[in-house]
């Protein structure tokens, strides 16, 4: 029989893509992402024994990852997301991949212009979560989620069109 720690490590191992995406949306430098990743894993580990509904692991991971990242940003207001990925000193595969993918780079730059809550809402929407799921994770009503998504999409579209025109 698996111990609770083995079970936890297996879950995190399978769902860690969520953590990397949350990190990418909120933090630019590798060291900040590394520290935040560590903190998220610890917070997940801490709350794992109390997790009752194992059916919605994804929502739980999103919730903890987003809350940890936002409180980290609020605690250290010096940490800001800066556009123009990638960081020169950052050699992770994902960032190298983003630097080759200009549309993705533009999208991330555009997302960085949103406020903290809208960034998480858009991250969840981009990951194809339903309005109800997003509402459950963020803790606002589904109608409010709809309003915020429409507004954020408009901003993203405008910013990305401007960048596209700028490049042409």
């Amino acid at each position: 029989m698996k111990s609770i720690n083995d079970e936890f490590l297996e879950i995190i191992s399978n769902y860690q893509g969520i953590l990397h995406k949350v990190n990418l949306v909120y933090f630019r430098s590798r060291s900040e992402r590394e520290e935040n990743f560590q903190e998220i894993v610890y917070q997940l580990w801490k709350s794992f024994p109390e997790l009752k509904n194992r059916e919605s692991l994804g929502s739980w991971i999103y919730k903890v990852a987003i809350n940890t990242s936002i409180s980290r940003i609020r605690k250290a207001s010096r940490i800001e997301y800066h556009p123009n990925l990638p960081d020169i000193c950052d050699k992770t595969d994902t960032v190298e991949f983003i630097s080759r993918n200009s549309s993705l780079q533009m999208l991330l730059e555009a997302i960085s212009h949103l406020d903290e809550i809208d960034r998480s809402i858009m991250l969840l929407w981009l990951d194809e979560n339903s309005y109800e799921q997003i509402a459950g994770i963020i803790g606002i009503s589904p109608s409010n989620v709809g309003v915020r998504i429409n507004r954020a999409k408009e901003i993203l579209r405008k910013l990305m069109n401007t960048s596209n025109h700028g490049k042409q």
């Binding site: 111990s3 609770i4 720690n5 490590l9 297996e10 995190i12 191992s13 860690q16 893509g17 990397h20 995406k21 990418l24 990743f37 560590q38 903190e39 894993v41 610890y42 580990w45 801490k46 992770t92 595969d93 994902t94 190298e96 991949f97 983003i98 993918n101 549309s103 993705l104 999208l107 929407w125 981009l126 990951d127 194809e128 999409k153 993203l156 579209r157 990305m160 069109n161």
Partner: protein, 209 residues
């Protein structure tokens, strides 16, 4: 740009390059414990350095005022207390830091590594003498204040205490200084308690790893 396009772009994001193995995730949790412990080590080192600075100051001023018996008595009391705090601080620092090979990421189980250190910290913060600082701060502060004030008045101890202006200055500085000292000590203690609680919690949860 269509709505679906945004999601399509996002789908191209591949985080596979950052995937970590279970072992790496486990190490990550362990290094968090070490990181928190390092804070205690640094704080202890800073307090040792401050005490060492005070020790040097007391030696120099005692040499310069070797003829003033009252002043010398105050400084000797302070020197003894400072020396005791340096030695006890050093011993704690040594235990907390351990030797370079004594790392939780190598052979030693993290739980054992943590236990060694949390027992020292628990003694500090919850042991029999944990409230000693409340009784030590007022006399220590008065002695340090007298030592500094008398020295920089460039007059003998008794002469300074017979001067009404000097005494008024001391009486004004005393409550302010005591308030600041108690406030700072309380804040540091609260912060250390939080850090210790984190480590104890970690220690309990680590039983299975």
């Amino acid at each position: 740009m269509e709505n679906n396009e945004l999601q399509a772009i996002w789908k191209t994001l591949n985080t596979g390059g950052q995937q970590r193995s279970k072992e790496e995730l486990q190490l990550l949790l362990r290094s968090k414990a070490r990181h928190t412990m390092n804070r205690f080590v640094t704080e202890t080192l800073i307090s040792i350095l401050i005490s060492a600075g005070l020790f040097v100051y007391l030696i120099i001023t005692s040499i310069n005022r070797a003829n003033d018996m009252y002043y010398l008595t105050i400084n000797i009391i302070l020197l003894v207390i400072t020396l005791v705090s340096i030695v006890s601080g050093y011993l704690s620092w040594k235990t907390l830091r351990g030797n370079p090979s004594d790392q939780p990421l190598k052979d030693q189980p993290l739980k054992v590594w943590l236990e060694k250190r949390t027992s020292v910290l628990t003694k500090w913060l919850y042991g029999r003498y944990c409230k000693l600082y409340l009784y030590l701060i007022p006399p220590l502060f008065i002695l340090i204040l007298l030592s500094i004030h008398v020295y920089f008045e460039y007059k003998p101890f008794l002469e300074v205490l017979n001067n009404a202006e000097s005494v008024t200055g001391l009486l004004v500085a005393l409550p302010i200084g005591l308030f600041v000292s108690f406030f700072t000590a309380g804040r540091i203690r609260r912060l250390r308690k939080q850090q210790l609680e984190f480590l104890l919690d970690l220690q309990t949860r680590l039983s299975g790893i």
